[in-house]
Amino acid sequence: MGLLAYGDTGWGDELFFATLMTIAVAAAAIFIGFFLAAIFASFKLSKIKILNLIGSFYTTVFRGVPELLVIYLFFFGGSGAVMFVAKIFGYDGYIEVNAFLTGAFSIGIISGAYSTEVFRGAVQSINKGQFEASEVLGFKKKIYYYKIIIPQMLRLALPNISNVWQITLKDTSLISVTGLVEIMRQSYIAAGSTRDPLFFYSFAAVLYLFLTFLSMRLFNKLEKYYSRGY
Protein backbone atom coordinates (compact mmCIF):
# COMPACT_ATOMS: atom_id res chain seq x y z
CA MET A 1 0.00 0.00 0.00
CA GLY A 2 3.07 2.23 0.18
CA LEU A 3 2.67 2.68 -3.54
CA LEU A 4 -0.56 4.58 -2.96
CA ALA A 5 0.79 6.90 -0.26
CA TYR A 6 -0.31 10.52 -0.49
CA GLY A 7 2.61 12.84 -1.15
CA ASP A 8 6.10 12.42 -2.55
CA THR A 9 6.56 8.80 -1.57
CA GLY A 10 3.59 7.31 -3.34
CA TRP A 11 1.19 7.71 -6.20
CA GLY A 12 -1.96 8.39 -4.17
CA ASP A 13 -2.20 12.10 -4.83
CA GLU A 14 -1.27 11.76 -8.51
CA LEU A 15 -3.96 9.15 -9.02
CA PHE A 16 -6.47 11.23 -7.11
CA PHE A 17 -5.95 14.22 -9.37
CA ALA A 18 -5.93 11.95 -12.41
CA THR A 19 -9.35 10.68 -11.36
CA LEU A 20 -10.60 14.26 -11.12
CA MET A 21 -9.21 14.82 -14.62
CA THR A 22 -11.11 11.79 -15.93
CA ILE A 23 -14.33 13.14 -14.43
CA ALA A 24 -13.65 16.61 -15.85
CA VAL A 25 -12.98 15.33 -19.38
CA ALA A 26 -16.00 13.04 -19.29
CA ALA A 27 -18.26 15.85 -18.03
CA ALA A 28 -16.96 18.29 -20.67
CA ALA A 29 -17.38 15.63 -23.35
CA ILE A 30 -20.94 14.73 -22.44
CA PHE A 31 -21.99 18.40 -22.45
CA ILE A 32 -20.37 18.98 -25.83
CA GLY A 33 -22.23 15.84 -26.88
CA PHE A 34 -25.58 17.16 -25.59
CA PHE A 35 -25.05 20.38 -27.45
CA LEU A 36 -24.33 18.54 -30.70
CA ALA A 37 -27.17 16.10 -30.04
CA ALA A 38 -29.67 18.94 -29.64
CA ILE A 39 -28.66 20.20 -33.09
CA PHE A 40 -28.43 16.87 -34.89
CA ALA A 41 -31.51 15.36 -33.27
CA SER A 42 -33.54 18.30 -34.52
CA PHE A 43 -31.95 17.73 -37.95
CA LYS A 44 -33.00 14.10 -37.87
CA LEU A 45 -36.54 15.00 -36.82
CA SER A 46 -36.87 17.77 -39.34
CA LYS A 47 -39.03 17.44 -42.43
CA ILE A 48 -36.27 18.78 -44.66
CA LYS A 49 -34.57 15.89 -46.47
CA ILE A 50 -31.08 17.39 -46.61
CA LEU A 51 -31.03 18.00 -42.87
CA ASN A 52 -32.13 14.39 -42.28
CA LEU A 53 -29.22 13.30 -44.40
CA ILE A 54 -26.71 15.43 -42.49
CA GLY A 55 -28.03 14.10 -39.19
CA SER A 56 -27.81 10.48 -40.33
CA PHE A 57 -24.34 11.03 -41.73
CA TYR A 58 -23.13 12.35 -38.38
CA THR A 59 -24.52 9.50 -36.30
CA THR A 60 -23.46 6.80 -38.78
CA VAL A 61 -19.88 8.00 -39.03
CA PHE A 62 -19.21 8.63 -35.37
CA ARG A 63 -20.91 5.48 -34.16
CA GLY A 64 -19.29 3.32 -36.83
CA VAL A 65 -15.68 4.46 -36.68
CA PRO A 66 -13.48 3.40 -33.74
CA GLU A 67 -13.06 6.01 -31.01
CA LEU A 68 -9.29 5.74 -31.24
CA LEU A 69 -9.31 6.74 -34.91
CA VAL A 70 -11.40 9.82 -34.12
CA ILE A 71 -8.98 10.75 -31.34
CA TYR A 72 -6.02 10.44 -33.71
CA LEU A 73 -7.84 12.65 -36.23
CA PHE A 74 -8.27 15.42 -33.67
CA PHE A 75 -4.92 14.89 -31.99
CA PHE A 76 -2.91 15.15 -35.21
CA GLY A 77 -5.34 17.32 -37.13
CA GLY A 78 -6.55 19.62 -34.34
CA SER A 79 -3.77 22.20 -34.33
CA GLY A 80 -3.65 22.16 -38.13
CA ALA A 81 -7.33 23.02 -38.31
CA VAL A 82 -7.06 25.74 -35.67
CA MET A 83 -4.03 27.27 -37.41
CA PHE A 84 -5.92 27.21 -40.70
CA VAL A 85 -8.78 29.17 -39.16
CA ALA A 86 -6.34 31.53 -37.42
CA LYS A 87 -4.63 32.21 -40.74
CA ILE A 88 -7.91 33.41 -42.22
CA PHE A 89 -8.09 35.92 -39.39
CA GLY A 90 -4.54 36.99 -40.05
CA TYR A 91 -2.63 35.11 -37.37
CA ASP A 92 0.34 33.28 -38.81
CA GLY A 93 2.07 31.21 -36.17
CA TYR A 94 2.13 27.85 -34.51
CA ILE A 95 -0.78 27.09 -32.20
CA GLU A 96 -0.80 24.01 -30.09
CA VAL A 97 -4.19 22.75 -29.07
CA ASN A 98 -4.53 21.85 -25.44
CA ALA A 99 -4.74 18.08 -24.78
CA PHE A 100 -7.80 18.55 -22.60
CA LEU A 101 -9.70 20.30 -25.37
CA THR A 102 -8.64 17.71 -27.95
CA GLY A 103 -9.85 14.95 -25.68
CA ALA A 104 -13.08 16.62 -24.66
CA PHE A 105 -13.94 17.41 -28.28
CA SER A 106 -13.12 14.04 -29.77
CA ILE A 107 -14.97 12.13 -27.06
CA GLY A 108 -17.72 14.76 -27.10
CA ILE A 109 -18.37 14.28 -30.81
CA ILE A 110 -18.63 10.51 -30.34
CA SER A 111 -20.80 10.89 -27.27
CA GLY A 112 -22.96 13.35 -29.20
CA ALA A 113 -23.68 10.76 -31.86
CA TYR A 114 -25.07 8.41 -29.22
CA SER A 115 -26.99 11.23 -27.50
CA THR A 116 -28.54 12.25 -30.82
CA GLU A 117 -30.18 8.85 -31.13
CA VAL A 118 -31.31 9.01 -27.51
CA PHE A 119 -32.88 12.46 -27.89
CA ARG A 120 -34.51 11.55 -31.17
CA GLY A 121 -36.01 8.38 -29.73
CA ALA A 122 -37.31 10.22 -26.68
CA VAL A 123 -38.98 12.96 -28.71
CA GLN A 124 -40.58 10.40 -31.00
CA SER A 125 -42.02 8.48 -28.09
CA ILE A 126 -43.97 11.48 -26.84
CA ASN A 127 -47.63 11.24 -27.65
CA LYS A 128 -48.52 13.15 -30.82
CA GLY A 129 -51.87 14.20 -29.38
CA GLN A 130 -50.10 16.69 -27.15
CA PHE A 131 -49.17 18.74 -30.17
CA GLU A 132 -52.80 19.07 -31.16
CA ALA A 133 -53.77 19.82 -27.58
CA SER A 134 -51.22 22.61 -27.30
CA GLU A 135 -52.36 24.01 -30.63
CA VAL A 136 -55.94 24.09 -29.44
CA LEU A 137 -54.80 25.84 -26.27
CA GLY A 138 -53.11 28.43 -28.43
CA PHE A 139 -49.47 27.79 -27.46
CA LYS A 140 -46.81 29.07 -29.76
CA LYS A 141 -44.51 26.47 -31.31
CA LYS A 142 -41.55 27.69 -29.28
CA ILE A 143 -43.40 27.38 -26.00
CA TYR A 144 -44.69 23.99 -27.08
CA TYR A 145 -41.11 22.76 -27.46
CA TYR A 146 -39.60 24.36 -24.38
CA LYS A 147 -42.43 23.84 -21.91
CA ILE A 148 -44.05 20.65 -23.12
CA ILE A 149 -41.75 18.51 -25.24
CA ILE A 150 -38.29 19.02 -23.76
CA PRO A 151 -39.22 18.46 -20.07
CA GLN A 152 -40.95 15.19 -20.97
CA MET A 153 -38.21 14.17 -23.34
CA LEU A 154 -35.54 14.56 -20.66
CA ARG A 155 -37.43 12.26 -18.32
CA LEU A 156 -37.85 9.61 -21.00
CA ALA A 157 -34.24 9.94 -22.11
CA LEU A 158 -32.74 9.66 -18.63
CA PRO A 159 -32.09 5.88 -18.56
CA ASN A 160 -30.39 6.09 -21.95
CA ILE A 161 -28.46 9.20 -20.99
CA SER A 162 -27.13 7.13 -18.11
CA ASN A 163 -25.86 4.58 -20.65
CA VAL A 164 -24.26 7.27 -22.79
CA TRP A 165 -22.55 8.66 -19.70
CA GLN A 166 -21.07 5.24 -18.88
CA ILE A 167 -19.80 4.86 -22.46
CA THR A 168 -18.34 8.36 -22.39
CA LEU A 169 -16.66 7.78 -19.04
CA LYS A 170 -15.00 4.62 -20.32
CA ASP A 171 -14.05 6.21 -23.62
CA THR A 172 -12.03 8.88 -21.81
CA SER A 173 -9.44 6.19 -21.06
CA LEU A 174 -8.51 6.32 -24.75
CA ILE A 175 -7.44 9.96 -24.46
CA SER A 176 -4.39 8.69 -22.59
CA VAL A 177 -2.78 8.12 -26.01
CA THR A 178 -2.59 11.89 -26.45
CA GLY A 179 -0.68 12.31 -23.19
CA LEU A 180 -3.43 13.90 -21.12
CA VAL A 181 -2.82 12.79 -17.55
CA GLU A 182 -6.05 11.04 -16.60
CA ILE A 183 -6.40 7.70 -14.82
CA MET A 184 -4.92 5.54 -17.59
CA ARG A 185 -2.03 7.85 -18.37
CA GLN A 186 -1.15 8.26 -14.70
CA SER A 187 -1.26 4.50 -14.19
CA TYR A 188 0.97 4.07 -17.23
CA ILE A 189 3.50 6.51 -15.78
CA ALA A 190 3.35 4.90 -12.33
CA ALA A 191 3.60 1.41 -13.80
CA GLY A 192 6.63 2.42 -15.82
CA SER A 193 8.55 3.97 -12.97
CA THR A 194 7.75 1.33 -10.34
CA ARG A 195 7.78 -1.66 -12.71
CA ASP A 196 4.52 -2.78 -11.19
CA PRO A 197 1.97 -2.61 -14.01
CA LEU A 198 -0.27 -5.32 -12.56
CA PHE A 199 -0.93 -3.32 -9.41
CA PHE A 200 -1.45 0.04 -11.08
CA TYR A 201 -3.64 -1.14 -13.92
CA SER A 202 -5.75 -3.18 -11.52
CA PHE A 203 -6.05 -0.10 -9.34
CA ALA A 204 -7.10 1.89 -12.41
CA ALA A 205 -9.78 -0.72 -13.03
CA VAL A 206 -10.98 -0.26 -9.43
CA LEU A 207 -11.13 3.51 -9.91
CA TYR A 208 -13.22 3.13 -13.06
CA LEU A 209 -15.52 0.65 -11.33
CA PHE A 210 -15.94 3.11 -8.49
CA LEU A 211 -16.83 5.88 -10.93
CA THR A 212 -19.31 3.78 -12.87
CA PHE A 213 -20.86 2.49 -9.65
CA LEU A 214 -21.21 6.00 -8.27
CA SER A 215 -22.76 7.37 -11.44
CA MET A 216 -25.19 4.48 -11.61
CA ARG A 217 -26.40 5.29 -8.11
CA LEU A 218 -26.74 8.94 -9.00
CA PHE A 219 -28.73 8.25 -12.15
CA ASN A 220 -31.02 5.84 -10.34
CA LYS A 221 -31.79 8.61 -7.85
CA LEU A 222 -32.44 11.08 -10.65
CA GLU A 223 -34.72 8.63 -12.42
CA LYS A 224 -36.73 8.12 -9.24
CA TYR A 225 -36.95 11.85 -8.70
CA TYR A 226 -38.14 12.62 -12.20
CA SER A 227 -40.64 9.81 -12.45
CA ARG A 228 -42.56 10.83 -9.36
CA GLY A 229 -46.16 11.32 -10.33
CA TYR A 230 -45.99 8.69 -13.05
Partner: protein, 224 residues
Protein backbone atom coordinates in the same frame (compact mmCIF):
# COMPACT_ATOMS: atom_id res chain seq x y z
CA UNK B 1 -8.38 15.01 -51.10
CA UNK B 2 -5.18 13.91 -52.81
CA UNK B 3 -5.96 10.87 -54.94
CA UNK B 4 -2.32 9.85 -55.35
CA UNK B 5 -1.78 9.92 -51.63
CA UNK B 6 -4.87 7.79 -51.13
CA UNK B 7 -3.84 5.29 -53.77
CA UNK B 8 -0.36 5.05 -52.32
CA UNK B 9 -1.49 4.13 -48.83
CA UNK B 10 -4.70 2.28 -49.57
CA UNK B 11 -3.12 -1.18 -50.11
CA UNK B 12 -1.35 -1.03 -46.74
CA UNK B 13 -4.56 -0.10 -44.97
CA UNK B 14 -6.45 -2.82 -46.78
CA UNK B 15 -3.85 -5.38 -45.72
CA UNK B 16 -4.17 -4.24 -42.11
CA UNK B 17 -7.94 -4.70 -42.39
CA UNK B 18 -7.30 -8.42 -42.58
CA UNK B 19 -5.91 -8.40 -39.06
CA UNK B 20 -8.87 -6.32 -37.84
CA UNK B 21 -11.32 -8.81 -39.31
CA UNK B 22 -9.36 -11.74 -37.93
CA UNK B 23 -9.28 -10.27 -34.41
CA UNK B 24 -13.00 -9.47 -34.56
CA UNK B 25 -14.11 -12.88 -35.79
CA UNK B 26 -11.91 -14.87 -33.40
CA UNK B 27 -12.94 -12.78 -30.38
CA UNK B 28 -16.62 -13.00 -31.27
CA UNK B 29 -16.35 -16.75 -31.82
CA UNK B 30 -14.70 -17.44 -28.46
CA UNK B 31 -16.86 -14.76 -26.84
CA UNK B 32 -20.06 -16.65 -27.68
CA UNK B 33 -18.90 -19.63 -25.61
CA UNK B 34 -17.88 -17.40 -22.71
CA UNK B 35 -21.21 -15.59 -23.01
CA UNK B 36 -23.35 -18.73 -23.04
CA UNK B 37 -21.36 -20.17 -20.15
CA UNK B 38 -21.88 -17.15 -17.92
CA UNK B 39 -25.49 -16.72 -19.02
CA UNK B 40 -26.19 -20.27 -17.84
CA UNK B 41 -24.38 -19.58 -14.56
CA UNK B 42 -26.62 -16.55 -14.07
CA UNK B 43 -29.72 -18.75 -14.14
CA UNK B 44 -28.15 -21.13 -11.62
CA UNK B 45 -29.75 -21.50 -8.21
CA UNK B 46 -26.33 -21.89 -6.62
CA UNK B 47 -25.55 -18.54 -4.97
CA UNK B 48 -21.79 -18.74 -5.49
CA UNK B 49 -22.05 -19.53 -9.21
CA UNK B 50 -24.58 -16.74 -9.60
CA UNK B 51 -22.33 -14.21 -7.90
CA UNK B 52 -19.31 -15.24 -9.96
CA UNK B 53 -21.26 -14.68 -13.17
CA UNK B 54 -22.81 -11.47 -11.86
CA UNK B 55 -19.54 -9.87 -10.83
CA UNK B 56 -17.74 -11.11 -13.92
CA UNK B 57 -20.10 -9.20 -16.14
CA UNK B 58 -20.26 -6.24 -13.73
CA UNK B 59 -16.49 -5.78 -13.63
CA UNK B 60 -15.86 -6.30 -17.34
CA UNK B 61 -18.66 -3.99 -18.35
CA UNK B 62 -17.78 -1.36 -15.76
CA UNK B 63 -14.14 -0.87 -16.78
CA UNK B 64 -12.70 0.35 -20.07
CA UNK B 65 -11.45 -2.25 -22.53
CA UNK B 66 -8.10 -0.45 -22.53
CA UNK B 67 -7.56 -1.27 -18.84
CA UNK B 68 -8.42 -4.91 -19.47
CA UNK B 69 -6.01 -5.27 -22.34
CA UNK B 70 -3.23 -3.55 -20.37
CA UNK B 71 -3.77 -5.76 -17.33
CA UNK B 72 -3.51 -8.86 -19.50
CA UNK B 73 -0.61 -7.73 -21.66
CA UNK B 74 1.54 -5.75 -19.21
CA UNK B 75 0.21 -6.97 -15.88
CA UNK B 76 0.16 -10.74 -16.16
CA UNK B 77 3.78 -10.82 -17.35
CA UNK B 78 4.73 -9.76 -13.86
CA UNK B 79 3.47 -12.90 -12.16
CA UNK B 80 6.27 -15.41 -11.95
CA UNK B 81 4.30 -18.63 -12.14
CA UNK B 82 2.61 -17.45 -15.29
CA UNK B 83 5.95 -16.77 -16.92
CA UNK B 84 7.11 -20.25 -16.00
CA UNK B 85 3.95 -22.06 -17.05
CA UNK B 86 2.91 -23.13 -20.54
CA UNK B 87 0.50 -20.17 -20.58
CA UNK B 88 3.47 -17.94 -21.23
CA UNK B 89 3.66 -19.18 -24.82
CA UNK B 90 0.37 -17.37 -25.40
CA UNK B 91 0.61 -14.51 -22.95
CA UNK B 92 3.93 -13.17 -24.19
CA UNK B 93 2.40 -12.51 -27.61
CA UNK B 94 0.42 -9.28 -28.03
CA UNK B 95 -1.79 -11.08 -30.55
CA UNK B 96 -3.12 -13.71 -28.17
CA UNK B 97 -3.30 -11.19 -25.30
CA UNK B 98 -5.49 -8.96 -27.45
CA UNK B 99 -7.77 -11.85 -28.39
CA UNK B 100 -7.99 -12.94 -24.75
CA UNK B 101 -8.94 -9.42 -23.61
CA UNK B 102 -11.51 -8.99 -26.40
CA UNK B 103 -12.99 -12.42 -25.77
CA UNK B 104 -13.43 -11.81 -22.06
CA UNK B 105 -14.92 -8.38 -22.75
CA UNK B 106 -17.37 -9.41 -25.44
CA UNK B 107 -18.19 -12.51 -23.38
CA UNK B 108 -19.46 -10.29 -20.58
CA UNK B 109 -21.73 -8.28 -22.89
CA UNK B 110 -22.86 -11.42 -24.71
CA UNK B 111 -23.80 -13.11 -21.44
CA UNK B 112 -26.06 -10.17 -20.61
CA UNK B 113 -27.68 -10.35 -24.04
CA UNK B 114 -28.31 -14.10 -23.79
CA UNK B 115 -29.49 -13.85 -20.20
CA UNK B 116 -32.15 -11.28 -21.00
CA UNK B 117 -33.15 -13.30 -24.09
CA UNK B 118 -33.67 -16.41 -21.96
CA UNK B 119 -35.60 -14.42 -19.40
CA UNK B 120 -38.05 -13.06 -21.94
CA UNK B 121 -39.03 -16.50 -23.24
CA UNK B 122 -42.73 -16.98 -22.71
CA UNK B 123 -43.28 -19.32 -19.76
CA UNK B 124 -46.25 -20.88 -21.55
CA UNK B 125 -44.01 -22.24 -24.29
CA UNK B 126 -41.81 -24.04 -21.79
CA UNK B 127 -44.87 -25.39 -19.97
CA UNK B 128 -46.29 -26.60 -23.26
CA UNK B 129 -43.03 -28.39 -23.99
CA UNK B 130 -43.19 -30.02 -20.56
CA UNK B 131 -46.77 -30.98 -21.15
CA UNK B 132 -45.86 -32.66 -24.41
CA UNK B 133 -43.29 -34.71 -22.52
CA UNK B 134 -40.11 -33.21 -23.96
CA UNK B 135 -37.02 -33.92 -21.90
CA UNK B 136 -35.18 -31.05 -20.25
CA UNK B 137 -32.33 -31.30 -22.74
CA UNK B 138 -34.69 -31.29 -25.68
CA UNK B 139 -36.63 -28.35 -24.30
CA UNK B 140 -33.38 -26.43 -23.99
CA UNK B 141 -31.92 -27.24 -27.39
CA UNK B 142 -35.07 -27.43 -29.49
CA UNK B 143 -37.26 -24.80 -27.85
CA UNK B 144 -35.46 -22.34 -25.60
CA UNK B 145 -32.18 -21.94 -27.47
CA UNK B 146 -33.64 -21.17 -30.92
CA UNK B 147 -36.04 -18.63 -29.43
CA UNK B 148 -33.28 -17.03 -27.37
CA UNK B 149 -30.97 -16.78 -30.38
CA UNK B 150 -33.67 -15.09 -32.42
CA UNK B 151 -34.49 -12.74 -29.52
CA UNK B 152 -30.88 -11.69 -29.07
CA UNK B 153 -30.10 -11.04 -32.75
CA UNK B 154 -30.57 -7.24 -32.75
CA UNK B 155 -28.60 -6.71 -29.55
CA UNK B 156 -25.93 -9.13 -30.65
CA UNK B 157 -25.58 -7.26 -33.93
CA UNK B 158 -24.77 -4.13 -31.94
CA UNK B 159 -22.25 -6.06 -29.91
CA UNK B 160 -20.56 -7.29 -33.11
CA UNK B 161 -20.16 -3.70 -34.28
CA UNK B 162 -18.85 -2.63 -30.85
CA UNK B 163 -16.31 -5.45 -30.99
CA UNK B 164 -15.24 -4.49 -34.50
CA UNK B 165 -14.55 -0.99 -33.18
CA UNK B 166 -13.00 -2.40 -30.03
CA UNK B 167 -10.32 -4.27 -31.94
CA UNK B 168 -8.79 -0.88 -32.71
CA UNK B 169 -7.31 -1.08 -29.19
CA UNK B 170 -5.03 -3.85 -30.43
CA UNK B 171 -2.93 -1.01 -31.78
CA UNK B 172 -2.10 0.02 -28.20
CA UNK B 173 -0.25 -3.25 -27.66
CA UNK B 174 1.91 -2.88 -30.78
CA UNK B 175 -0.35 -4.80 -33.19
CA UNK B 176 -0.70 -3.29 -36.65
CA UNK B 177 -4.41 -3.55 -37.26
CA UNK B 178 -6.31 -1.01 -39.38
CA UNK B 179 -6.17 1.69 -36.69
CA UNK B 180 -2.53 0.89 -35.89
CA UNK B 181 -1.45 1.29 -39.50
CA UNK B 182 -3.62 4.40 -39.88
CA UNK B 183 -1.92 5.96 -36.88
CA UNK B 184 1.49 5.05 -38.25
CA UNK B 185 0.72 6.66 -41.61
CA UNK B 186 -0.71 9.77 -39.92
CA UNK B 187 2.34 10.23 -37.71
CA UNK B 188 4.77 9.84 -40.61
CA UNK B 189 2.93 11.89 -43.24
CA UNK B 190 0.96 14.31 -41.01
CA UNK B 191 -2.15 14.02 -43.13
CA UNK B 192 -4.76 12.97 -40.59
CA UNK B 193 -7.82 13.94 -42.61
CA UNK B 194 -7.06 11.81 -45.67
CA UNK B 195 -6.07 8.79 -43.62
CA UNK B 196 -9.14 9.20 -41.42
CA UNK B 197 -11.39 9.25 -44.46
CA UNK B 198 -9.87 6.10 -45.96
CA UNK B 199 -9.59 4.08 -42.74
CA UNK B 200 -12.95 5.36 -41.52
CA UNK B 201 -14.61 4.32 -44.78
CA UNK B 202 -13.19 0.82 -44.47
CA UNK B 203 -14.62 0.58 -40.94
CA UNK B 204 -17.96 1.95 -42.12
CA UNK B 205 -18.15 -0.59 -44.93
CA UNK B 206 -17.53 -3.37 -42.42
CA UNK B 207 -20.19 -2.08 -40.00
CA UNK B 208 -22.55 -1.76 -42.94
CA UNK B 209 -21.98 -5.40 -43.89
CA UNK B 210 -22.50 -6.60 -40.30
CA UNK B 211 -25.60 -4.44 -39.92
CA UNK B 212 -27.20 -5.82 -43.07
CA UNK B 213 -26.19 -9.38 -42.30
CA UNK B 214 -28.02 -9.15 -38.97
CA UNK B 215 -31.02 -7.50 -40.63
CA UNK B 216 -31.08 -10.38 -43.13
CA UNK B 217 -31.00 -12.96 -40.33
CA UNK B 218 -33.74 -11.11 -38.46
CA UNK B 219 -35.98 -11.23 -41.50
CA UNK B 220 -35.07 -14.83 -42.29
CA UNK B 221 -35.93 -16.03 -38.80
CA UNK B 222 -38.88 -13.78 -38.16
CA UNK B 223 -41.67 -15.80 -36.61
CA UNK B 224 -44.35 -13.21 -36.33
Amino acid sequence: MDINFALEHFPRLLKATKLTIELTLLSLFFGIFVGVFFAILRTSKNKILFFIAYYYSYILRGTPLLVQIFIIYFGLAQIEWIRESFLWIFLKEPYSCAILAFTLNTGAYTSEIFRSAFETINKGIVEAANGLGLSKLNTFFKIKLPIAIRQSLPAYGNEMILMLKGTSLASTVTLLDLTGVAKHIISTTFRPVEVFIIAGSIYLIMTFVVHNFIKFLERRYDYN
